[in-house]
Amino acid sequence: MNEVLHLTVNGEPTRVPGPASVASLLRRLAYDPAGHLAVAVNKTFVPRAQHQHHPLRDGDEIDVVAPMQGG
């Protein structure tokens, strides 16, 4: 099945072939697997241990965040 998922990653429209998980999306987008990153799907936190098992659905909004300066 070559279903295409229409996702939004950090606010940007992104299309990926399905099925996809959080882990496969991060790999496909070439995020550093050892990087200090955290992920939310549809504004809900997805812990690193679940990235492999969390399936993405058409229309999902994904946020990938990293450390930054803050007050």
């Binding site: 987008l29 990153l37 936190f45 946020d63 965040v65 990293a66 450390p67 300066q69 007050g71």
Partner: protein, 262 residues
């Protein structure tokens, strides 16, 4: 030296907490944090594009400082956003401490009290040590304590405004009514005298960022704030004299030259 201070059961060497934003360069930030003697610094999260290195570079810099990290939920406007951000921060920074910000107004960056209480309750239940950025409102403070917050961080003035303590009487009332809660003035501090004032009121610590980061010489200003915080705390512990309406001569007058009874 003033007495010890702790957050979440962890004893901290300094009562000055500083932010990591808005410095002219990473090296200036590093020197300023060292000059402040801060044992806790605040950090944030931002969206990162693939291949972007900013997050990793900042991570390495901040780890090299050997300080405790206090991640924030800056930019969150609802309890749900703040809760999710807190969980992401816990995973990335490996700490259960969170500076909880739920902003209710874009112009003043005033906390949304309703979202704040909702998020604080959920995060305390999830095992976080929640440090809410709040207003000086006493009843809101009590609600946050009821949720399980052991530290409250009322604003002195709007974030980045440098106006100092706009409502010192309300801040003093918070101290008086919540003697067992750790109180940290967060936001609005512009000068070391503002920080000293907060400490003289009995606040346990001061958290600031812009006042140091955007000073002409951040390292020097950080050193000035460190002394002001220590001076204010020592003064509080030394119990200042009450204000009086009339003069009271400091030199004993009896038997001074030309003394006579009126």
């Amino acid at each position: 030296m003033s007495s010890a201070f702790s957050i979440g059961g962890e004893e901290l060497a300094s009562r000055l907490l500083v932010g990591t934003a808005r410095y002219p360069s990473p090296e200036v930030m590093r020197r300023a944090i060292r000059a402040a003697g801060a044992s806790v610094v605040t950090v944030g999260l931002r969206r990162q594009a693939p291949g972007e290195r900013a997050g990793e570079d900042f991570w390495r810099l901040i780890r090299s400082l050997g300080v405790r990290l206090l991640p924030n939920t800056a930019g969150c406007r609802t309890a749900r956003e703040a809760i999710t951000t807190a969980h992401m921060a816990r995973e990335i920074f490996d700490t259960r401490w969170i500076k909880l910000e739920v902003i209710g107004d874009d112009y003043t960056l005033q906390p949304d009290p309703f979202g704040l209480v909702e998020a604080a309750r959920a995060l305390v239940d999830d095992g976080f040590e929640v440090l809410p950025y709040t207003t000086e409102d006493l009843v809101l403070a009590q609600r946050l304590v009821d949720c399980g917050c052991r530290v409250l961080m009322p604003w002195g003035a709007p974030i980045g405004s440098g106006q100092g303590l706009l409502n010192p009487r309300a801040l003093a009332a918070l101290r008086h009514r919540l003697p067992d809660v750790t109180l940290i003035v967060d936001a609005g501090i512009g000068r070391p005298s503002h920080a000293a004032e907060a400490m003289e009121l009995g606040f346990d610590a001061v958290l600031l960022n812009t006042a140091v980061a955007e000073a002409g010489d951040p390292e020097r200003m950080a050193a000035a704030f460190a002394r002001a915080v220590e001076a204010g705390r020592l003064a509080y512990e030394a119990r200042p004299i009450p204000e009086r309406d009339l003069a009271q001569a400091s030199t004993p007058l009896i038997d001074t030259p030309f003394w006579h009874q009126h």
